[in-house]
Symmetry: none
Subunit: 155 residues, 2 copies
DNA sequence: ATCTCCTTCATACTTTTGGGTGATTTTGTA
DNA sequence: TACAAAATCACCCAAAAGTATGAAGGAGAT
């Protein structure tokens, strides 16, 4: 709505300036024709003025690019009860299994132990943990634990 | 350097288009003067063309406006202040160095990174961590971190 | 002085972890 | 049903972590 109004104003302004220029030229025609100014001079003047107008218009109307910046605002929680940070997990796109693996990891289990506990193979756990590290943007399980603790993915 | 080159090119392009327009107008003057087109028509054409040129120029040359959009994301923080459990550390007979190593471990650092940070060799850190694991009665660093968290040796 | 503990470092070896690739099956959803 | 994501597993290789053992210098206690 606001943009529309602005556009409207611009249009009026543009029209007015066109009209003013036409008047100016007509006046010039009367006053200075005797001096035998060639048509090219007028054309040049118009060209320059409207180029400037175009530049001004473009700068006024061009939309700014939007750059998103994420700020982490500390949210102080006083309760001892652990509340799983679902939002963060979703934002990172962590799957159920990956979260399970992460939580067992944080308990200090080895990959083999996690595999046994979840009744899957060691290789599977390795795949899960690799993806986990990618998503958390970490390199080691200890870093993953740090991250998870910080963002309330684990108690 | 590059911008200067670009500006140079733009200038040439601009000059050429001006010249082309002059020629075009001269030709129109010859061909269509009989039809008694008024000066305003020409002026209008020039105005429109050069407005567009101005817009194009501005868009080409101006830096894109950047508008930052800030998104705040809550980061859950436990308000309980951390108090190091001196008693427990003494009970287990942990040395200063071992506690240091343990705390860096919990931050997610690798042995090599800990060694660099403490200005000692990798082997030294291995020895420290081995002792640490013995005293904490754990087998892996992740378990050590769990233990340390549980007993308030680390935040 | 002697002893103990801490700290430092080395070498050799084993286990665990992690990266990369590829493949198959299951499952949820359009 | 068809498609995408999730879950499963295998194999190979490299890096990191962990174990065992030995050794040497320094600080503090007896």
């Amino acid at each position: 709505m606001r943009l529309r109004l602005k556009l409207y104003q611009q249009t009026i302004l543009y029209g007015l300036s066109l009209a003013a220029l036409a008047l100016l030229l007509r006046w010039l025609e009367f006053r200075l024709l005797i001096l035998n100014h060639s048509f090219e001079i007028y054309a040049g003047i118009i060209a320059v003025i409207f180029t400037l107008l175009g530049i001004w218009l473009a700068l006024k109307l061009s939309r700014p690019k939007i750059e998103t910046k994420i700020i982490e605002r500390p949210l102080i929680v006083n309760s001892t009860a652990f509340i799983f940070n679902k939002t963060f997990a979703q934002q990172l796109g962590l799957s159920k299994r990956e979260i399970e693996v992460l939580q067992l990891m944080a308990k200090g289990l080895s990959n083999q132990e996690i595999a046994d506990q979840l009744f899957v193979s060691l290789n599977t756990i390795k795949t899960h943990s690799s993806r986990l590290f990618e998503k958390l943007e970490v390199k080691r399980r200890t870093q993953a634990i740090e991250m998870a603790k910080k963002h309330a993915l684990i108690p």
